[in-house]
Each structure stands twice: as structure tokens, then as C-alpha cells.
């Protein structure tokens, strides 16, 4: 005999123990005696930490003072943030002249504006944007930082950067408002939509050349005051070193990873050896090597300044870690993708560039962000060999006469600064990872 339920059972609200705050507390904090003990202990630990940090860092702290003695007069047990506030500019720009910091700031703003479209779904031509950043931005930023007279190359590249940046902005606007690329928008504005493809291309090219020429003449009179690299410092220097090292180590890492996976034994052995040597030694030894041995490597009459040495060292070091990330990314691509590419006749470079790398890079992004975080943290080591990065600046506060012996506060502040930067980046990378894994499940 069959049992049939004709009426549908209606859903009832859950018992209070499942939904109320009290129920939540009982389940998550006081479910057993052992759990209750744990809760009490953790509460005590949290209380101790928070209260002592809060008292030291805020309640008893001094924010406005001219020197450390005044801090002490105010409170003996509190933090002396006044020193940090006094050194604020130095922490971000090092000994960069105050009158010229606009160059650093505008370079930062330009970078943000330039890169932001990469995160906007309506904007077209993202690969071109990324390439233009890598190719042109370093020259513009370099000029804004260092200033001085421009060589011909610098003139060309600065012009290119300005044109590319302007086009990028217009492209972003076109994407946001009309959902087209700058190319299509321009064609429309010029009334050439019906023209043949060849004509369109010619018109656009002429326009580009015209823009370039105009900007070139305009910018040739533009001079930024020269600032020696020895005055660069603070967080600015940290970003310069890690930014350049990151931008250079990605392509180098790709080359090394391809070398390590090559079918040619000699290439494989050389790449593997290079990668493994750099991965087995600490960064500080590589930095020492750079400062002591690079001068010996150079031919007569050729000098690398300290900053360049450091950047080369950090780049080589980081490229080896990047190579391992790329290798892992390549290994994640199924063999069938290679075969699929071969059967439509693509060669090695076509297969890698069109099929394998685009997929692998996407999977690598979280790891690359992780590597960037590590690189940013590792860049603090340059303070050991005498560059004044953010940690170097922070540590020199305690040597400044009015703030003599002020050690703890700068370090805590530096820790906080890095925590904010690195933590938000790692959160973002985890979010990306989640999004990517959700995408692959689709």
C-alpha cells in the first residue's frame, strides 16, 4: 500500500536557539565547559592586548610636541606620535625637496588613472592599456622623479606616454558612456563609419601622428627640476624599487620558466641552475653581492649607482620566484590545450602566446599578487645596505636630535603602514582566487 501526503508541509520559523544572538553565543562560545574556558581565556587575552595598546597608543599618547622631552612631560607611559607627525613628509618622500613632491604625487595619480580602466568591465582594449603602461609609464614617471634635461629618447618616450595616457583616458570615457572603444568613437565623430577599413586605418594613423607631433613640440619646452636619486627615499623609494623590480621580473620570470620547461637540455639546465641558485640564498646576500661585486663586474669607467645595483639585485632575485609561479601556472594547463593548438597549425610561440600564456596568467594572478606583497616586505632590506626606504627613514627618526631615542613608535607606525597595504592586497588576491575558482566551475 502506498502512503501519500497530499498536503504540502509549510515551512516554520526555526527554534530560537538557531536564530537569536543568545542562541548564537551558546553554540559558538559556550557549547561545553571546555569551550567556555577557552572563551574566557581568549576574552582576557583580547582585553589585555586591546586595552594596553589603546592606552599606550591613544589615551596616554602625545600627538603634538616639538621634541621628545615635551612628550615625556605630557606622559611617561604613552606613545609619542608627535615625532612621526613631524617626520610625516620624510617618511613618504625621503629627502625629496618639498617644492618638487608634486612630481611624485602626480606620477602616482597618473598611474592610478592609467591602470583603473583595467578593472572596468565596459572599457575595451585592456591588453593595449596594460602594454602601454609597461612601455611608456616608466619613462614619464622616471622623468617626473629625476627631472633635468631630456635626451632624444626621453623626449620621444615622454611624448608617447602623454599621448598614450590621453588616449587611454578618452578610451575609458568612450567605454563608460558609449560602450565603444576610442577607435570606433573617433571614426564615428569623424563621420568615417561607412569608409573602407583601409581608409579608416589611414585616417586614424594620421590623427595619431598629428597628436604625437603636437605633443612633442609642446613638451620639449617642459623641464622638471633635477632631483638626484640620493634624495629619493621613504615609501616613495620602496614603491619605486618594488615597482620596477616587479615590472621587470615578470617578463624575466616568464623567460626563465619557459627555459626550465624547454625540451632543449642545455637551455633547461641553465635556467634551472639560475633559478635554484637564487632561490636558495637569502635576499640580503644577493644585495651584498650587488654592492660589493657589481662594481668589480663592470668594465673600466662604468659605474652603476647604488640604487641601480639594488634594483638589479632585487629584480634577479624576484624573477626566480616569479619563474616558479609561472611554471606552476603552466603546469596547470592541460596537455590537450597544447595539442589543440598544434592541430590548428600554431607553432611554439603561437601556442604559448595565444593559447597557453593567456590562460596560465589568469590563474597566476593571485600568486603574483602574493609575490608582490612579499616583494614589498622584502624591499625593507635595502635599509640594511644604506638606502633610505621607508624603514630607513623610520629608523633615522631616532637619530634626529629632537627625537633622539624614539625607536618604538616609528616601528609600530611602519608595521601598521605595511599591515594596511599588505593585508588589503592579500584580501584582494583571495577575493580574486575565489572569483577565478567560481569562474572555472561555471
Amino acid at each position: 500500500m502506498a502512503i501519500v501526503t497530499l498536503e504540502k508541509t509549510t515551512a516554520r520559523p526555526a527554534p530560537l536557539s538557531e536564530t537569536t544572538a543568545l542562541g548564537w553565543l551558546r553554540i559558538n562560545l559556550f557549547s561545553s565547559v571546555f569551550n567556555t574556558v577557552l572563551t574566557v581565556i581568549s576574552l582576557y587575552v583580547v582585553y589585555l592586548t586591546v586595552s594596553s595598546v589603546f592606552t599606550w597608543g591613544y589615551l596616554d599618547a602625545t600627538f603634538i610636541a616639538d621634541n621628545r622631552r615635551e612628550c615625556y612631560k605630557n606622559s611617561l607611559t604613552g606613545a609619542c606620535w608627535a615625532g612621526i607627525i613631524n617626520w610625516f613628509n620624510n617618511m613618504f618622500y625621503g629627502r625629496y625637496p618639498d617644492a618638487e613632491t608634486w612630481g611624485v604625487n602626480s606620477a602616482a595619480v597618473i598611474l592610478i588613472l592609467w591602470m583603473a580602466p583595467l578593472w572596468m568591465s565596459r572599457v575595451r582594449g585592456k591588453i593595449l592599456i596594460a602594454v602601454s603602461v609597461v612601455v611608456f609609464y616608466p619613462f614619464l614617471a622616471g622623468y617626473l622623479f629625476a627631472g633635468g634635461a631630456k635626451s632624444l629618447l626621453m623626449n620621444i618616450m615622454v611624448t608617447g606616454a602623454i599621448v598614450a595616457f590621453a588616449l587611454n583616458l578618452l578610451n575609458t570615457l568612450a567605454g563608460l558612456f558609449t560602450d565603444t572603444s576610442i577607435k570606433e568613437a573617433l571614426i564615428k565623430v569623424l563621420g568615417q563609419s561607412t569608409a573602407a577599413e583601409g581608409t579608416q586605418r589611414k585616417v586614424l594613423f594620421a590623427l595619431l601622428v598629428l597628436c604625437f607631433a603636437v605633443v612633442f613640440t609642446l613638451q620639449s619646452n617642459w623641464l622638471v627640476t633635477e632631483v638626484s636619486w640620493t634624495r629619493w627615499g621613504g615609501l616613495f623609494l620602496t614603491f619605486v624599487i618594488s615597482g620596477i623590480a616587479m615590472a621587470l621580473s615578470l617578463p624575466l620570470g616568464i623567460v626563465l620558466a619557459l627555459g626550465r620547461r624547454s625540451e632543449l637540455p642545455a637551455v633547461r639546465v641553465l635556467s634551472t641552475g639560475f633559478i635554484e641558485i637564487f632561490r636558495s640564498v637569502p635576499l640580503i646576500t644577493v644585495l651584498f653581492m650587488a654592492t660589493t661585486m657589481f662594481p668589480l663586474f663592470m668594465p673600466d669607467g662604468f659605474f652603476l649607482n647604488n640604487l641601480v645595483q639594488v634594483i638589479i639585485a632585487v629584480t634577479l632575485f624576484n624573477a626566480c620566484y616569479m619563474a616558479e609561479i609561472v611554471r606552476a601556472g603552466l603546469q596547470a594547463i592541460p596537455k590537450g590545450q597544447f595539442e589543440g593548438a598544434h592541430t590548428i597549425g600554431l607553432g611554439y610561440w603561437g601556442t604559448m602566446g595565444l593559447i597557453i600564456m593567456p590562460q596560465a596568467l589568469k590563474h597566476m594572478i593571485p600568486n603574483i599578487v602574493g609575490n608582490l606583497i612579499g616583494l614589498l616586505k622584502d624591499t625593507t632590506l635595502v635599509s640594511i645596505i644604506g638606502l633610505f626606504d621607508v624603514l630607513g627613514m623610520l629608523r633615522s627618526i631616532s637619530k634626529d636630535v629632537p627625537w633622539l631615542g624614539l625607536h618604538k613608535e616609528p616601528l609600530v607606525f611602519g608595521g601598521l603602514l605595511f599591515f594596511v597595504i599588505c593585508f588589503s592586497m592579500s584580501k584582494y588576491s583571495r577575493h580574486l582566487e575565489f572569483k577565478l575558482s567560481a569562474g572555472s566551475r561555471r
Binding site: L29, V45, I384, G415
Partner: protein
Amino acid sequence: MSNESGDRTRSDEFSFFQDQRVRSGFYQVLAVAVVGWLVWYLISNTAHNLEARGMSTGFDFMQVSAGFDIEFKLLEYAPGVGTYADVFKIGVLNTLLISFFAIILSTVLGFFIGVLRLSNNWLVSKVSLAFVEVFRNVPLLIQIVFWYIGVFSLMPAVKKTLDLSFGAERLLLNNRGLYMAWPVPAEGFWMTVLAFGVAIVAALLIRHRALKRQAASGEQSNVLLLSLALLIILPLSVFFATGSPLAWDIPVLEGFNFVGGATVAPAFLALLASLSIYHAAQIAEAVRAGILSVNVGQGEAAKSIGLKPGRVMSLVVIPQAMPSIVPPLISNWMNLVKNSSLAIAVGYPDIVSLFMQTSLNQVGHAVEIVGLTMVFYMLVSLIISALLNIYNKRVQLVER
């Protein structure tokens, strides 16, 4: 169509560089040539520069006596007597020493925090999460310097020394470091050591017997208590029976400082604390990920056949989690050894600060010194990755 033979001849004509073997050979020769040229170029430049600056090469300087003193050393050394070879050895030993203790501490702490992260107690898991995030996201160098300047250097002065042994004056902490009473074995102490060894062997035998009996009859017996008692009581009774043959070298205040016992410098303490905590945070994440990687069903299946929670962990979950915990754990150890080179920031005389900095400044010989130091680190990582390989092989064997 009869183009078959025609096509074949056409394809043979242009085939020289199209031949796979020719091409692969060409690229390899090219790669070796470029790298070889680069190396040769750098070496010849270096040789030229060394000559121009009148600098000698070779490892003869290792036999020259070094003029500086070393604060913390495990070997006999005196300035002006000890050679640079001694300096190198002291540096190596100091690096290994700090790494050894930091590895043990960070592993224990890391497992502890990693398990706490998975607690069903909401507060506990959040507190350990905060611990992990804070110490992971602040550069290690800042942490080291903070522990050195902000903690251990701010300890009370010698006159107000903290007594960590509650008035027994066996463990003292002040701004010059940690002072410990140090045991000095007297005659006859070897018997206690022997007794301890016997106890260990006996405990192992007992365990073996118990397991055998369980296998044979299914009878379970708690041998833990028995073994513990054996391990404690046997050596102790021998110790007292032979008349307590152990003296303590106790630190005593003499003038402005403590003398006697064993001393650990603040730099060592700062390095130990920061390395342990920084890597504990990383290890905790590896442990958590490893345990989470074990399928939930495994735990449920183990519960469903009636195993108690402790046994579920020790017999089912942990053995399956280990293969994914151990590789990141070991690579963390390797990073720890490398990170111990940051000792230079607080003046702990490890290989980098002693050899690559101080010695290099004194005698030059950059190439030799940098080379030796790097070779040391390469050897360490070779050994550690060999360990990892052995482990991976064993795991694969089991899984098969």
C-alpha cells in the same frame, strides 16, 4: 596527381634549418654561447678590476688572524689569534644555532595556532586569525628590530633584573640578556644518563609489546602512564642514589654584570622571538590548509564507526593531512634559515653579519667571501630539499 615525389624533393631542399635536430642544437649552442660569453665577460672584467686595484685573490686570507672580537660564539676564539676560517665557522654555527631553536619553536607554535584556527569556538578562531594576519603582513625586518629595540632592550637594567624563576635566581632577564643557571655534571652523572637511556628503551619495548598484544587479542592497555612513570622515576632514583652528581653554575652579580651560568644576548632573544612568531604564522596557515584538505567525509566516516574525537584526529585526519602539511612546513624551515640572515640588523653574529659584512670590510676578497657564504646557504637548502624529497618518496610509497 603525381606531385608526391615532387613535393618530397621540395621539402628536402629547405630542410636544413627546418630539421628539428639542427634547430634544437642551434638554439642550445646559442644559449650556452651567450651565457658563456656573459660569464667570461664578467670574470675578465673582475680580474682586470682586481688587478687594477692591486687586490689579491684566493683563499689565503682564511688563515690570517682576524682582529675583531665576537660577542657570541660557540667555539674558542680570541681577537688577533683566531683566523678568518674560525670566524667563518663561528658564523655558520651561530646561524645553525638560531635556526635550530627558531625552527622548533615556530613549528610547535604554528601547529598550536593552526589547530586553534579551526576551533569551533568563534572567538578562539578569530583571535588566532588576527595573530596570523598581523604577523604575516608586517615585514620580518620591522618585527626583528621591534623585538630588539622595543622589547628586549627595554628590559630593566642590571640592578633591577627580573627573576623569572620566582626568587630562585636561576633564570634572570635584564637589558643585557637572559642569564640561566647551567648544569655542570660531576663524576658519576653518566649513570643517570645511562638510566635514562635504559628507561627509553624499556618504554619503547613496553609499547611494542602492548601493540603486539592488541593485535593478537584486541586487548587495549594504557601504556602511556606506565612509560612516563618509568621515564621519570628510573633516572631520578639513580640520580639520587649516586648522590646527586650535578652542580649548577649560577649567574652571580659581580660589579655591573652577571657572571657565570649561560648568557643569551638580547639580539639572540629578539631574533628567536621574531623568527619563531613570523614563521609560526605561516606554518599555522599550512597546518590549517592541510587539515581542511582532508575530505570532511573522512572525519564523518571515522565518527560513524564509533571512534572517539581524539582518535578521529590521530588515526584518520592527521595522517591524511600530513602529506599536504609537510612540504610547506619544510619550505618554511628553509625560509627561516634564510631569514635568520636578518640577524645583521640587530648585530647577532651570524654568517652574513660576521663574514659578509665585518670580515669583508676588513679584508676585502668580496668574490671569495660572497661565494663562500652563498655556497653555505646552497648546501643548507640542498640538504633541506633532500629531506623533502625523502619524505615525498615515502608518502608516495604509502599511497600506492
